[in-house]
């Protein structure tokens, strides 16, 4: 009798205990940081340098407060001790007083006040060597699935990382390739919310090893073209800072949901990227 009672009681206790829907209450481990997006290109003007802030995960983000400005955040920014100016139109920093050369080290220094706290960060980067260049900048019209768009370029010696921004310029529901062989069941109503997901594609080549003037052929995958129409492909020969940022910044969550640190080259209170790159552009038009 005692055994019977024990089993019944135990079962009920365990069942009662092992139910419910626990709530995840995260402790706030927020520390203010300066988020930097800064690329410098040899023989190009220093511009579009963005200085931003990070945000607590609890609560909303006021998007107008993302950019750190000299006016509201007392931002001081320089590259190789040349001060940068703030452009009110683009909400970014620039200077016309600094010449960016190939294969040269540059140091960015930023100070700003975020949430009342004085922050400082600095980072170094070395620009790639001269040599990278796309050989044919306009590929003309390309018939979808009959010919693959192929980009030929000469490499920057010592640079193994090449990134491709593939942008469908006229992306819309009307020119989406619904009869594509990969996701043939996309519906127009679903597309409107996910237009940018298909419009902007990105790919990369890692650890490429070619000598100066050797030509590399990169074939754009069918998974990177979802619309008929004009495309702009920006090819970057990026240094190690850019490579590590592209590979790790957006890839901090592991398959079990846990997080790991990205690889960024900032000292002090900075996160983001300060990288040297050479960029070139290719155009083509994808037709039926």
């Amino acid at each position: 009798m005692f055994k019977n009672l024990l089993i019944i009681v135990l079962t009920l206790i365990f069942i009662t205990t092992a139910c419910g829907d626990p709530v995840v209450e995260l402790e706030d481990e927020y520390e203010p940081k300066i988020a930097v997006s800064a690329y410098i290109y040899p023989e190009k003007r220093v511009e579009n340098i963005r200085v931003m802030r990070n945000f607590q995960l609890s609560g909303d983000i006021d998007s107008s407060s993302i950019i750190l400005t000299p006016f509201s955040n007392n931002v001081n920014i320089s590259i190789n001790d040349v001060p940068l100016n703030f452009d009110l139109k683009t909400f970014s920093y620039y200077t016309d007083n600094l010449q960016i050369d190939y294969n040269k080290e540059y140091t960015i220094k930023i100070s700003a006040v975020v949430d009342g706290k004085q922050l400082y960060t600095e980072s170094k980067t070395v620009t790639p060597q001269k040599g990278f260049k796309v050989t044919a900048k306009d590929l003309g019209e390309i018939k979808y699935r009959e010919v693959s768009p192929t980009i030929n370029f000469t490499v920057s010696p010592g640079t193994g990382f090449y990134a491709f921004s593939i942008n469908a310029l006229e992306a819309g529901v009307n020119n989406f390739i619904f009869d594509n062989p990969y996701e043939p069941n996309v519906k127009p109503e679903d597309l409107e919310d996910r237009l940018n997901f298909y419009k902007f594609q990105m790919n990369m080549v890692l650890n490429l090893n070619l000598a100066a003037n050797d030509i590399y052929e990169y074939e754009i995958s069918g998974l990177d073209t979802w619309f008929y129409g004009n495309y702009e492909v920006v090819v970057y020969a990026g240094n190690k800072n850019m490579e590590d940022f592209v590979l790790t910044a957006g890839n901090v969550q592991e398959f079990d949901g846990n997080f790991h640190e990205p690889r960024m080259y900032f000292e002090g209170d900075g996160i983001g990227v300060f990288a040297g790159a050479i960029a070139d552009t290719v155009k083509f038009k994808l037709v039926k």
Binding site: T17, L26, S37, L57, E183, R263, G272, A279
Partner: protein, 778 residues
Amino acid sequence: MYFRILIFTTIFSFSLFAQTFSYSGTVLEKSTGEALIGANVYLDELNFGASTNISGYFVIPNIPKGNYTLIVSYVGFKTEEVKIYVQKDCQNCITIELSDEAVQTGEVVVSADSVRTIDKLFAKSVSKIDLTPRQLNQIPQAVESDLLRSLQTLPGITSLSDFSSALYVRGGTPDQNLYLVDGTDVYNPEHAFGIFSTFNTQAIKKVEMSKGGFGAEYGGRLSSVLDVTNLDGNRKEFVGNFNLSLLSASTTLQMPVGSIGSISGSFRRTYFDQTIAKWIDDIPQYYFYDGNLKGYFDLDKSNKLTFSVFNSRDDLDFKLDPDAEESLSFLYNWGNLTGSLNWKHIFSTKLFASFWATASRFNSNFDFDAVEFTEHNKLTDYAAKGALEYYYSKNLNIKFGLEQKILHLVLKQDANTGKVDVDVRRQHTAGYITTDWMPSERLTLQFGLRGNLFNTNDYQFDLAPRFTAKYRLTDNSNLKFAAGRYFQYLNRIPRLFFSSIWISADENIKPSSSDHFILGYQQEIGAVYEFEVEAYYKTYKDIYQYNQLLGSDVEASGYDENGNPIYSTSKGVFTRGDGHSYGIEFLLRKDVGALTGWVSYSLSKTEHKFDGINQNKYYTPRHDRTHIVNAVLNTNLTELFSGSRDSESNWIFSMNFVYASGQPITTPGSAYYINPLPAWDNIPVSGGEGIPGYKLYPSDINTFRLPDYMRMDISITWENNFDSWSISPYLQIFNIGNRGNVWFVNYNREFNSGNIEQKIDKTNMLPILPSIGVKVNF
């Protein structure tokens, strides 16, 4: 003077030995003819004896000439007494068959004649747990019984999630567990991306799990050994069973082969690709199967031969839109193939030998046509092993052996922009010696030493000492201690979706090592209850985990004609680290009677320190669970309520409860916006939704803990016995409380009038999962 005494005593000792004899034999299960492992055999008049080994073989040395009563007992079996006359060495001269009548009737007799619980505990190795097939099959599980999931109910063994059958033993990671099936190493024993294990519980004869401090006969892994022995086959009659669950159908058949042996075979296959997938488009074309065949042959009194073959396969043919002529698709298949040949030979009454030739292969193939990516992953392990047991005297046994392994590891990946081409061969030679010395009736000491010679591009030689002491504190309590050093030369790269890859020690990866220190206390309570407490401390040196920054760190070993990289070494693949685990485990277990099961509690802590992670400071890994409570209960309701087992119809109730502290996780301390590429100028300066530029920045590693994990599973089986067959339909309910155990946390955001609303929600593990099935025995 001392010298003379020494000579005298030595001569006297030898003269004493010269007047004694050894007596050996075999203990079998009466109904099946299967060998009984660990049966207690002793001489009543001399009050000493031996235990049977894995072949059911026993040797009692140092018996003076005379008449004796040989008593053979095994828990759950009827004790047998045999009168013997010893006048000379007698090699395997008796076969004793024990009847499992006690289990059949439910009347478990615990008398002075049968083996005492405390003796059984004393004979057991430190940190070792045995499970019978009956126990394995009674523990309620998700959909159907699973060996590895059943082991997760034991103290010191935990899982990462409901979706994983992988074992984390006392802080160790799954790659630190050695899986042996009939003496053969099995790599990646996983079905369905790790949700289920490849071991068919219907085909298992015995499972031994060593959670640490294991003897010198085992090596090559840091944390644990899971030694699975499959059914040899019924030597008396043709028997079989058939099991149908919502997941799979399986059968096990056993039959005698003349009078010399037996054969058994099992096969299991999932069937939803042939049923549900025919009607529901979203179910991918996926199935798995596994099967094994084992034969046992008594060549003569001194020679036994066993062969065992095991094969498992998972096959996935995925098509995003099954109805479309063309759609994103890939093919993926993986599986194990193992085989072993085992020859057991009795050289003399005192020398027993076992020789193995084994082969094990794991391979996987992936073909993703849309991006022109293929992968072929293969690991083959050929081994020859010899293990000898020498029964020198009643107080001293010596075990020694040699093992030679040839490993071949292949990983080929082919993509447009690079290749992986790893093809390495390694040799692992190991030798060991272990002495079991009983200096007094109360004390047993085991000294062991294992030598490993591993051929990387250089030779690596390691010595691994092992030590165990067992002491009978009182008539019903034991004290045990074990310590040892363990080495591991293979590391596993766990991957999302894809099966794990194994990589061997080389110029970039040092052999991993671990030291174990275990102190245990055992007590018999009320004749049938086992109470055990074990405290352990374990170190890890040069352990490796997958480098999360692999893409950034991996270095090419060469280049093809187009300048694309070819990766053929392990450089940059792993991150090196050290660590330690410590804890204490309490186990109260009852194996006999109408109500069986166990309750356990473990308190543990594991810390790792990996190069370049967490500023090189110690942190708690994801599998660390501070507190774990397990309760497993099996009972015959019919017997419980009516007082006796019904010979025709019984209701069996089982439950499994687990409570575990929440897993440590890293939280993103903050979010920020930044362009993935400079050309994607999406920063929402003036609001509005851009392309994904929202990024999370993690805080310190694993400092936050998820809510506590709790789960209760039950099963009810209706056992119906007929003359020559039985049928048992069952209902299992996994997570009957439908608790929302958190798997991981999601971070989402929505754009709303210039504001970005951030939302935190969670993804839960398995909800309540009822399933039904039926088992038929004939």
